[in-house]
Amino acid sequence: MPNPNRKLFLPTLLITLIFVFLLDLALGSVHIPLSEVITTLLGGQAAKTSWTNIILKLRLPKALTASLAGAALGVSGLQMQTLFRNPLAGPFVLGISSGASLGVALVVLTAIAIGNPMFLKDLGILGDFTLIVAASLGAALTLGIVLIVARRVQDTTTLLILGLLFGYATSAVVNILLGFSSSEQIQSYLIWTFGSFAGVSWNQMTVLAPVVLLGLIVALVLSKPLNALLLGESYARSLGLTVQKARFWIITSASVLAGTITAFCGPIAFLGVAIPHLCRSLFNTSDHRVLIPAVTMMGGILALIADLISQLPGSQIVLPLNAVTALIGTPVVTWIVLRRNSQKSFPT
């Protein structure tokens, strides 16, 4: 007995996504009319050659990156919220992004130790893969540890505190590494932590896009096990789910998604926590078969909007992406916490 209204939501989201995507191509330091954007995308020439260049070389990879990043972080957050049965779980809050940062820091900063700061750039795609693997491993390692702790600790608050502490520990290690680095490297690392969708070249896109799409497909295939896990592990098992196997694949896909995006765009805060909640309220369901496509598109939309805002259209200034996502995300997370508190004020 599906809700008839729900069927209209997904197409609406898709249309919104396309619209925001085009808007992200049109707006920026230089304003390009939407019609010109569409002409360019269809293979034609824009009225000015510079516009064609701006769209194809700068804004298109950036907009694609934003869509992929929003989708990846949102889906990764959704998977973790279900797995931990915790509404505040997400790539950032549980220290997964910190783990990925550590992986990136290790690769970027040890590249200096080898003596060649341009080491990774020289490696090209191989270097990109090194980054993805390092970030994903860092993410998976943190997620694995949090999960082991989570099985012993049932208390949500304790888990969040542990995630926070984990974040501190990893940033401490990063700080130590920074102590041994040149100021130039430190600066590039810091800029990476601000987060940006603009740093991905077409070459890197050939790595980013397939990895993220693969992660999203795995997540979609895991919809059914994720639905069973809504009931908790014992029930999921009684329904015939091999919990260990499902958990392994969920962690893998969540950390590849979050790790890859962190490697290319920096640790982007809040999107991963906020998007699943928005979709749950919008669609009024926890069914992952609806939520994963919804989160994928909603993630793209929100990330593109965040990118639009950070560009401050019409100006030359670019705000740090993380500042923008935090400003969007904080009210959403606050709302979640307050709403849950009012629900839980009379515990059963």
Binding site: R85, V221, L230, S234, Y235, S238, G240, T242, N284, D287
Partner: protein, 340 residues
């Protein structure tokens, strides 16, 4: 018996306390679940009822022996095959976020559906039947978080029913419910087990209901003994009294209830009839009097006077006569009288 749904033979249950040591809870368990029977598992707190249920459902390996479900070892059955034969309802309250009752019930079809969980016409029909069978059809479109504990428990049972398994194990399904809801759920389960010819095993602390509704009782004692039989058999054999023996509480073998052992405050002579007299007796017993209807050596005399418009109590103690308009007043003054 060959038609048993689930059997155990010389089963020992317990759990690992360290890689080499085991905590043995009970051994030599040889029991069976028969089609169409509701079995209640009773026992004091912490005696290992949940461990037994977990072992029977294949979630925990047995220390010795095996559990056979339709002839196959439950611990070795592939998870999906096991789920088609056995369903569970647990004590834990699940917070599933935003799911309608109907969607939750369809999750019971999990072991029967494809990788995407697509529901066939048959799956939908079974889910609808399950939700109707527990009398919750009107809740189908409601969000689970809006339901009361009793309603939610019904939905969880419907979900287990939708699994189309021949055996259903329930761990204290009525723990969070008020009394009318408990009776309702237990009656429902009894009806279901008759209709489906499956087998239902549930653990409970509700002795009274178990005694009235169970076809069989498994009574797990603190010493690891498992007494099995019709509830009345176990009352007569003294198994109940032995298992639940503790200080200050005794199992009354004639009423099948637990009664408190109280200080003896002597005898009271009660005169009266009808419901008022019955509850006056209860009130007097509550504070430790032995109530008799005969003139005895008791020097306290209580008379219940029922008039069409009012009820009052008259006590005579020696020469003093008092009138009370509620049992509360009566009990309170008798309490003071005895202490002085």
């Amino acid at each position: 018996m060959s038609d048993a749904i689930l059997t155990t033979h010389n089963l020992a249950i317990g759990y690992k306390t360290s890689p080499k040591t085991f905590h043995n809870i009970a051994s030599n368990i040889s029991v069976s679940l028969q089609p169409g029977e509701l079995v209640c598992l009773l026992g004091p707190n912490g005696v290992g009822k949940s461990t037994l249920l977990r072992t029977l459902s294949g979630m925990l390996p047995p220390l010795k022996g095996e559990v056979r479900l339709l002839g196959d070892d439950v611990y070795k059955l592939p998870p999906q095959e096991l789920a088609k034969r056995l369903s569970l309802v647990l004590t834990e309250q699940v917070d599933v976020g935003m799911l309608s009752a109907y969607t939750l019930v369809t999750l019971g079809r999990y072991p029967h559906t494809d990788w995407w969980g697509k529901l066939t016409k048959q799956d939908q029909a079974i889910a609808t039947w399950a939700i109707e069978a527990v009398g919750a059809a009107h809740l189908a479109q409601r969000n689970l978080s809006e339901l009361s504990d009793g309603e939610r428990q019904k939905i969880m049972i419907a979900r287990a029913l939708a699994q189309s398994s021949i055996a259903m194990l329930l761990d204290e399904p009525t723990a969070f419910l008020d009394l009318p809801r408990r009776v309702e759920i237990m009656q429902l389960l009894r009806q279901l087990v008759r209709d489906t010819k499956g087998a239902i095993l549930l653990s409970t602390h509700d002795l009274n209901l178990a005694l009235r509704l169970a076809d069989q009782v498994w009574l797990l004692a603190s010493n690891g003994n498992l007494y099995v039989g019709a509830p009345e058999d176990l009352v007569l054999s003294g198994a109940f009294a032995d298992t639940f023996r503790s200080e200050g509480v005794e199992f009354n073998i004639s009423s099948g209830e637990f009664s408190l052992q109280r200080v003896d405050r002597g005898k009271i002579h009660l005169v009266g009839q009808g419901l008022e007299a019955i509850w006056t007796t209860r009130a007097l017993q509550r504070i430790g009097f032995h109530v008799t209807q005969h003139t005895t050596s008791s020097n306290i005399f209580v008379e219940v006077i029922s008039e069409p418009s009012s009820v009052f109590w008259r006590t005579t103690n020696g020469k003093a006569v008092f009138i009370y308009h509620s049992l509360y007043e009566l009990v309170k003054s008798l309490d003071v009288l005895i202490k002085s």
